[in-house]
Symmetry: C2
Subunit: 187 residues, 2 copies
């Protein structure tokens, strides 16, 4: 693989915070480095839950040394209690990136789904399926938070990644991924 | 003053994060220890802004060694962009409390206003005025974020503070504060 960009994707959450690390080469092919979910106990006080999430994110950065962090952008939604915890967890993720001197960026769920499946309103199963194909995994990444974290990392690398030649630019990243996945499936 | 509880109040915000430290004695009298505002540059990336806020909060804790942290509870509101930044900053404040092993609690703006002014819908000026009276300050704490941080700290100490004797319990903390302030004003 050519010089790769190592991206840590974080799907922020208090109860389950998805973390996924991928290497994405300049030709846009991607390899799984790490995937997991950091959990915190809903029975614990919020300050300890956030400290648990922070410790988990720092451990992933220490072990895998990504050069950039991509975090899902949180919007105000119907479930107000839940969205505040999600926003707090996203703040922790961004803070840690800032403190480590890593570039950080946020992407909306629609951007992530569009980048990975070609369809901004894709459901969780479609995202899991495409992430597994793109990364040539034998099974779907579980739980969905873990798949979302990997999708975030892929989205970031593809959207902001290596310069695309005019010919290659004729394919969107998702189209390219489908083409790659189909080619691999035929082998 | 009898053994006092030292409380750090934090009014979370990205552009201006109010921080106030007060000592509250078992007789509920309160003394100003520190008040300030941590600012971050809106032109900076979010991850650096959060790191600036975190560094500022840590510096206050290092210098003044509070035993508890009170943070304003953030709700989903009309201004969605702003509330997400506020929620992220509140997550940072709670995280730092958790990492330092400090107890943390959150209070709603209504609870804070009611505790300090006796009126849950008090305006900023009323909060500033009462905070200045309670802490015997010569001037109103400025900006409003700083006054809110002090009000949060007072609210926390009074709501969760020392046991109140049955007789003393006949006065709410706000009523007591008014009585104290009026007595002081007559001196």
């Amino acid at each position: 693989m050519a010089a790769a960009l190592r991206v840590l994707g974080i799907d922020p959450g208090l109860t389950r915070c998805g973390v996924g690390v991928v290497d994405v080469a300049s030709n846009r092919s991607a390899t799984l480095v790490h995937v997991g979910v950091i959990r915190s106990d809903p029975g614990e006080p919020i300050e300890r839950r956030l400290a648990t999430i922070a410790a988990g994110i720092r451990a992933v950065i220490d072990e895998h040394e990504p050069s950039v962090v991509a975090v899902e952008r949180v919007f105000s939604q119907h479930n107000r209690q839940s969205v505040m915890g999600t926003a707090q967890a996203s703040g922790i993720a961004l803070l840690i990136a800032g403190e480590r001197g890593l570039a950080a960026s946020t992407h909306t769920p629609t951007e992530v789904k569009a980048a990975v499946t070609g369809y901004g309103a894709a459901d969780k199963r479609q995202v899991q399926t495409m992430v597994a194909r793109i990364l040539r995994l034998d099974a779907l990444p579980q739980p969905a938070d873990a798949a979302d974290a990997l999708a975030l990392a892929l989205c970031h690398a593809w959207r902001g990644g290596a310069a695309v030649s005019p010919a290659a630019g004729a394919l969107t990243p998702a189209q390219r991924a489908w083409a790659d996945a189909e080619r691999l499936a035929r082998r």
